[in-house]
Symmetry: C2
Subunit: 745 residues, 2 copies
C-alpha cells in the first residue's frame, strides 16, 4: 500500500488513522536522547517556529559575541585562535543552548609568518650604499590595539624571504598589462622594485606577474582613492571616521591556489603526501611586502620618469610617475634604490575546524551547512568575527529550541567554524577534500556568512541561481534595519537590481568567485552555495572594501562606532541567514528553484551569440548544439517545476516521491561538474562558474578558450574552443537529463 | 509523528491502522495507465514471483532467440545490426511481452573496416622482389557460412593501412619483454615483420610495443597450444569438434583505450568535438594483420635463427625459431621477406544502443541496469548472441508479468543492447558519457551478460565485492544443468573456490577488467558491476577462450552441437542473471553486502605489507595510515551491517530510513572514485580496480607507482608512491565516512 493513499482514502480510514496518530503521539514516551518533537515524514516548515527564531535573534547578543571574539588578535593557529576553538565547542556543547554534537577537525597545513625577531623592512638606500630612510614596519598605535606580541606586522603571506634592492618603478595594479605598459615606455624592469596598489588583480598575481618581467621585489599599498573616497589625512580617518589611517596596511595571502598549498586534493593529515616545499606551484618567486599609503606616498611622489596614464593615478596628491628611480630635487638622491627585506618563513601548523550538528528528524542524511572562518589577521572584528558573532547567535537560538524539545529540523544542520581561511580558504577546503563523497551525496546547500556587515546600507547576496528564490522568500519577510519601514528585500531592490526576463525588476544576486569558504563547496563539490552580508550604499562610497580590512584597525570599536552602531545590520543578516537556513532545513520540498538557472544560461548563450559567433563561424564552430542544450535544460527544469507544484498540491505526498524530486533539485549543481574540464585550474570543476580570463560573459571554458584562440594562429587553439563547447553542451544535456522524469529513458 | 512509530505503537492502533490499510487497498481504483500491482513503500522481494520467473525462463525460447540473432553476420552498424535494433525494439515494445518503453540512442563513432575491394594479404616475397607465396585472405568455407558479402575478412581493426615488408621474426606474445628478448639475442628488429601469437598482452599492445623497437609490421595468430589443447588437424577441429579450424582467425580491435576513439569523455554526438583523425592516442603506428595457425605454421616452422625459449614454443609441431628470416632448406629462399598489405580504413558510422525500461513502482529513480552488446564480428552466435538470447528471454518473462499486471519491480529495471562493443566497448561507454550524472546518482548495480556460455561446466562470475552476496543467494536457489543434482552454487564451488577468512570455502568471484561493457560502469562511474557466464571445466581444457572466438566459425550450429546442446547452460545463466536482477530491483533492502569489501582491502593490504614494506620503509613511507584506513572501513561497514539488520527486524521500517541505508550501500562504490588519481589511464578512476602494471596484488596506484620507483633512482618516483598511498588512504577514509551513521560529524 502506498502510504499517501492510505491517508487519502476517505473519511473513515482517515479518522482511524488520525486516531492512530494521536494514540501514537501520546503513547510514545519521550526518549531523552532521542530528539523528536515532530518526525512525521511530511514534516514541513513551521512558520510559527520561523517567526519565533526571527524574533529571538538578538542584536545585543551579537554585539557581546563580537566583543568576545575580537578581544584579541587571533591569527590562524595562534593561542587565541585555539581559545576560540574552545569557546565554540563550549557554546555548541552547552546543554541548554547547544547542538546535538560538536567536534574539531584538525589539519597540518602550511602557513607563512613574518619573523618576530627580524621585522620586514622597506628602506631607501643611498648611492653610497647606506640606508638613510627606513619605513615604518608596524601600523601606528592609534587606539592602543595596534601593537603587542600578538599583532603580526603587516606582511605578504607566502611571499618568500629575500632582500632585493633596485630602482623603484610604479606598476599600477601589477597586472600583466601594467608591466607591459612600463616596458612599452622603454623602462627596463630587470632588477627593479615595483610599487603596486591593491585592486584589479589578486595579491599574489602582482608579484608573480612582476617576476616574469625581471622585477626583483614588489611593494603593495592601498591608495586612498581606492579605499577612502580620496581622504587621506589623520583627522579624516580612523579613529575619527571609518577611513583607513595613513599607516594602515592590508595583510593577505599572496598565492595563486586556495587550500593547503602542500596537499592539493588530499586532506592535510599529518601522514598525507606533501609537495616539495621548495617547488610549490602558485607561489611568488620574489619577495613582496605591503605598506601603508603614507609610506607609499613618500616613494611614489618622488618618482622620476614619465607620468603614469590617467587610470594609474590615485589620491596621494601628486602626479604619479612610472620611474625608474627618484626624481631630482625630491626627498631622495636620484640614484637611490629601494631595498625590501622580507623575513617571512613557512611553517607547518595545526589548524582546527569546529563543526556542530543538529540532527535531522526526518532526513538526517540531508545536510544544510552553514559556515564561516574563525581566524583573523589581527583582531578581525569585521573579518571574520562579525560573521561568527551572527553564527553563534543563530546556533544559540536554534540550540535553545532544540534543547527545549520544541523543534528539530527535517534535515540535518551542520555549523562550521573554519580555520586558516585568511591563508587561502584552507580549513574549509581540507574538509571538503576529506569528506568529498559524503558531502557531495548529501549536502543540499552551503550558506556562508564571512564578514556579515561591510556597511549598513543593504543586503548583498551572492550565490548560484537555485538559491535566489529562497533568499528572496526570506528577505521579503524581514524588516530592514533603520527607519525606512521597508523589508530587506525591498531595501535591497532599491540598491541593487536588475531586470529579469522572468520576474521583472528583482534584487541582483551576485556570482561566487573564491573570496571565502564557499569556494570549495561550489567549485570543487558542486554544492549550491551562497554568501550573505550587509554592505555599502554605492552612491555614498566607492571604497574597494571597508577601509580597515586586514589591518590592525579592524576592531570592535571600529564596528560599534562606524559600521553598525546598534548592531541592527548584524541582526538583519542573522535573520536573513537564519531564515534561509530554516527554509532549507525544514521545507518538505527543497526551496531551490532550478529553473532560475535558465536565465543564466540564456545570458551566457546570448553573450556567445553576440560576441563570439562571427569568429566561431569562420572556424566552422556552430553554436547550434549549445542553443539546443540550453533549450533542453529550460524545458526539463520547467517541467520539473510543474511536477513539483502538482505534488505540492496533493494533500499528503508520498515521502519517497518528495525525496525523489528533492534529490533532483539537490543534485542538479553536481551535474555541472566536470573534473576534467579545466585540469590546470585547481579545484575548479563547475563548467558554469570556473574563472573567466576572457572578456565575454559567457560559459567560462568557452570564453577562455576563445580568448586564447583569438591570439593564436594554430588550429589547436580552435580545436580547444570546440572541445570546451562540447564540454558545456554535454554538461547542460546531462543536467537536463537529471531533471527529466526519473523513469524516462 | 514517525510513521514507523505509528505502526509500532500497540495492538489497538495497529488494528485501526491495519483496517485503514485494508480499506485503502481495496477502495483505490486501479488506474489503467498507472502501474501498480503493489506500490507499498515497503514492497519487498516476492518469492513467489521470483520462483515463477525461474520457472518460465525457457531453454527452447533462448535457442530460438539465438538462431534468429545469429542467422547472419551483424558487425556493428551493418544492415543486419540495424535490423537487430528493430528486432529489439519490437520485442521491448510488444504489448503483451514488452517493457514500459524502449528507444534507441545513436552515436557517430569511429570504426575501422577492411576493404571489400582490396583484401588484406600476407605474402612471402622472394629475393627477386616477386611475391611467390600468398596466404589465404579468408577463412575456409567449411559450413557454407564463412564466405559472403557480409563476412568481413579477418583483420586487425584500427591497424593502419600500409604495406610493410621485411625479414620475419617470431616475437612470442608481443610483450615489451618479448621484443627485448629478441634484441638480447642480437636480432635487429628494425624493418622486420614480427609474427606474434594471441595471449599475454592485449591485441593493440603487440603492435604498439613492436613499433617502439622498429618493427615495420605485425602478424598475429592463435597457437593450437593455446586454443585447441594442442589439436590442429582438420578432423580434430570444427565442424568435427569444438576446436578452431586451421584457417580460423581471431578478429579484434587493436587499440589501447575503450570508447569512441575520437571523443574521449564526451558522447559521440554528430556535433561533438573530435580529436584529430591523424593523431589518435592509443592506435598502433604500424600495420597489423591476424592469420590462422595453418598460415602461421608455414611461416614459423621455416624460420631461421636461434631456438625460441621454452615458454615461446607452441603446438605447431616444429621447434619455433626467433628469426630473422627463413632457414636454409625450408619452403622459402633464405633471403625471402614477408610483405603485409593492410587496406583497412577508418569510418565514422552511426551505431545504436537500444534501451528498454520497466519503471519502478516505489523507487523509479533507482536503476538496475542489465546489458549486453549486440554487434558481432561475423555471426557471433556465442559472442554476443548467446548473451542477447538470454537477455531477450529474461525481458520476455518479466515483460509478460508486467503486461499482465501481476508484477512491477520496486526499482526501475533498464535493459540495454549496446552497439559497437567489438570495436572497444563503444556504445556502452558513450552512453555513460552522455548520462554520467543521472547514472551515477541512481544506479544500484550493473549486470553484464555478454557471452553467456563459453562452455557448459560451471558458472563464472566477476564483480566487485558487494555483488558477491546477491550472486551467492541467487545461485543457491537454482539447479545446475546436468545430472549432478547440485545447485549452481555448489557446482561452482566444486570448480572454482577460495578460502574466505569470513565465510570459509566459497566460490571464487573474479575481478572486472575491461573485457566487456561493464568497464565504463565500474571504472568510470563507480557503479557496482558484475559479469555472468557459464564456462569451462579447467581440468578438461586449457583453451584461452572458446576456440572459434571472433571467427567465422562462431555459428548457431557450433553452439547447438558443441557448446550447449540442450541450451540448459543458457537457461542456467538466464536464471542466475534473472534472479540477481529481481533481487536487486525488488528487495526492500539492497542486497549489496558492502562489508565484503573488507576482505579485498585486507588482501591488498597484506600484499603491500608483505611485498612492499621493506623498500617503502627505506624511503620513509609508512603503511600505518593505510592500516588505519582499512580498519576504519572495516568497522564502519560492519556497523552499518548491524544497523541494517536491526532495521530489517522492525516490523515496518520507515521508508526514508530504508532509503537512507540503501543510498549508503548504492553509493559506496562511488566513494572509491578519484578522477585525478590516474590521469593517463583514460576512464579509470576507481582507486581499487584500475589496471595494475606492477606485479604485486595490492592497490593499483600503489602497485604501479612502486613498480616504477623500484626501477628509478629519483626521489620524484618515491614521492609518487607516497602520493598514491595518500590517494588510497583518502578514498578508504572517505568511503568509511559514507558508511558511518548519516548524522555523525
Amino acid at each position: 500500500m502506498h502510504w499517501a493513499k492510505i491517508l487519502g482514502v476517505g473519511i473513515g480510514a482517515a479518522a482511524l488513522l488520525g486516531l492512530g496518530i494521536i494514540l501514537g503521539h501520546f503513547a510514545i514516551p519521550k526518549a531523552t536522547d532521542s530528539p523528536a518533537p515532530s518526525t512525521s515524514v511530511s514534516q514541513d516548515l513551521d512558520m510559527a517556529i520561523l517567526d519565533s527564531v526571527m524574533e529571538q535573534l538578538d542584536a545585543g547578543r551579537i554585539r557581546e559575541n563580537l566583543r568576545e571574539l575580537s578581544k584579541e588578535p587571533h591569527v590562524a593557529t595562534s593561542p587565541r585562535d585555539e581559545a576560540l576553538v574552545q569557546l565554540l565547542l563550549e557554546r555548541w556543547k552547552d546543554t541548554t543552548t547547544g547542538l546535538d554534537a560538536a567536534k574539531t577537525f584538525e589539519y597540518k597545513v602550511l602557513l607563512s609568518f613574518p619573523s618576530a625577531e627580524q621585522p620586514n623592512t622597506v628602506e631607501v638606500v643611498g648611492p653610497n650604499g647606506t640606508a638613510f630612510h627606513s619605513f615604518r614596519p608596524f601600523e601606528k598605535n592609534l587606539t592602543g590595539e595596534q601593537v603587542g606580541p600578538n599583532v603580526l606586522q603587516p606582511y605578504a603571506a607566502y611571499a618568500p624571504p629575500g632582500t632585493p634592492q633596485g630602482l623603484l618603478v610604479y606598476a599600477n595594479q601589477g597586472s600583466e598589462e601594467d608591466y607591459k605598459a612600463l616596458e612599452a615606455q622603454g623602462i627596463n624592469l630587470n632588477g627593479t622594485i615595483a610599487l603596486t596598489r591593491y585592486g584589479g588583480v589578486g595579491r599574489g598575481a602582482k608579484a608573480i606577474n612582476a617576476a616574469k618581467h625581471g622585477v626583483a621585489g614588489v611593494l603593495v599599498y592601498t591608495d586612498p582613492g581606492d579605499i577612502n573616497d580620496g581622504k587621506s589625512l589623520p583627522n579624516e580617518t580612523f579613529p575619527n571616521s571609518w577611513g583607513l589611517p595613513p599607516s594602515g596596511v592590508e595583510r593577505g595571502s599572496y598565492k595563486t591556489y586556495f587550500g593547503d598549498p602542500l596537499t592539493p586534493y588530499l586532506p592535510a593529515h599529518p601522514s598525507s603526501f606533501r609537495l616539495d616545499l621548495h617547488n610549490i606551484p602558485g607561489f611568488s618567486p620574489i619577495p613582496a611586502q605591503p605598506i601603508g599609503f603614507e609610506d607609499a606616498k613618500a616613494l611614489l611622489c618622488n618618482l622620476d620618469g614619465p607620468s603614469a596614464p590617467g587610470g594609474w593615478q590615485g589620491a596621494l596628491g601628486c602626479d604619479y610617475k612610472m620611474g625608474p628611480g627618484f626624481k631630482q630635487g625630491g626627498s631622495f638622491p636620484t640614484a637611490s634604490e629601494v631595498k625590501v627585506s622580507v623575513h617571512n618563513s613557512l611553517e607547518l601548523r595545526t589548524s582546527s575546524n569546529v563543526l556542530g550538528i543538529i540532527r535531522g528528524a526526518v532526513e538526517p542524511d540531508r545536510y544544510v551547512i552553514y559556515g564561516n572562518h574563525r581566524d583573523s589577521w589581527v583582531h578581525g572584528a569585521v573579518d571574520p568575527s562579525s560573521g561568527t558573532a551572527v553564527l553563534l547567535e543563530i546556533s544559540r537560538v536554534l540550540g535553545t529550541l532544540l534543547k527545549k524539545g520544541t523543534w528539530r529540523p527535517r534535515r540535518s544542520i551542520i555549523f562550521a567554524s573554519w580555520g586558516a581561511e585568511e591563508f587561502g580558504l584552507i580549513g574549509s577546503t581540507e574538509y571538503t577534500e576529506e569528506f568529498l563523497s559524503k558531502l557531495q551525496e548529501r549536502t543540499t546547500a552551503y550558506i556562508n556568512v564571512d564578514i556579515s556587515v561591510f556597511a549598513n546600507a543593504t543586503l548583498r547576496a551572492q550565490g548560484t541561481p537555485p538559491v535566489q528564490s529562497v533568499i528572496f522568500a526570506a528577505t521579503k519577510e524581514i524588516s530592514a534595519p533603520g527607519p525606512s519601514g521597508l523589508s530587506i528585500y525591498d531595501n535591497w531592490l532599491r540598491h541593487t537590481n536588475r531586470s529579469s526576463p522572468v520576474y521583472g525588476l528583482v534584487p541582483s544576486l551576485g556570482t561566487l568567485g573564491a573570496g571565502s569558504d564557499y569556494a570549495a563547496f561550489i567549485h570543487f563539490l558542486g554544492i549550491s552555495s551562497m554568501d550573505l552580508a550587509y554592505t555599502y550604499d554605492r552612491s555614498k562610497t566607492s571604497a574597494r572594501i571597508y577601509p580597515t580590512y586586514h589591518t590592525a584597525f579592524d576592531t570592535f570599536h571600529y564596528v560599534e562606532k562606524f559600521l553598525d552602531p546598534g548592531f541592527t545590520s548584524h541582526q538583519a543578516v542573522a535573520r536573513t541567514a537564519g531564515n534561509v537556513l530554516l527554509r532549507l532545513s525544514d521545507s518538505l520540498f527543497l526551496p531551490l528553484n532550478v529553473s532560475d538557472y535558465t536565465e543564466t544560461l540564456h545570458s551566457f548563450l546570448q553573450a556567445a551569440q553576440g560576441d563570439l559567433s562571427t569568429l566561431l563561424g569562420q572556424h566552422n564552430i556552430s553554436l547550434g548544439p549549445l542553443v539546443n542544450a540550453v533549450k533542453m535544460f529550460e524545458l526539463a527544469a520547467a517541467a520539473l517545476g510543474q511536477r513539483i507544484l502538482t505534488l505540492q498540491k496533493s494533500s499528503s505526498p508520498d515521502p519517497l516521491q518528495v525525496r525523489m524530486v528533492n534529490d533532483q533539485l539537490m543534485l542538479l549543481e553536481r551535474a555541472f561538474l566536470n573534473p576534467r574540464a579545466f585540469p590546470e585550474e585547481r579545484y575548479y570543476s563547475h563548467v558554469l562558474w570556473a574563472p573567466k580570463t576572457g572578456p565575454v560573459a559567457t560559459f567560462p571554458g568557452l570564453a577562455n578558450a576563445y580568448a586564447k584562440a583569438q591570439n593564436s594562429s594554430g588550429s589547436e587553439a580552435w580545436a580547444e574552443v570546440q572541445r570546451q563547447l562540447s564540454i558545456v553542451v554535454t554538461a547542460l544535456e546531462g543536467a537536463a537529463a537529471t531533471l527529466e522524469p526519473v523513469a524516462d529513458l
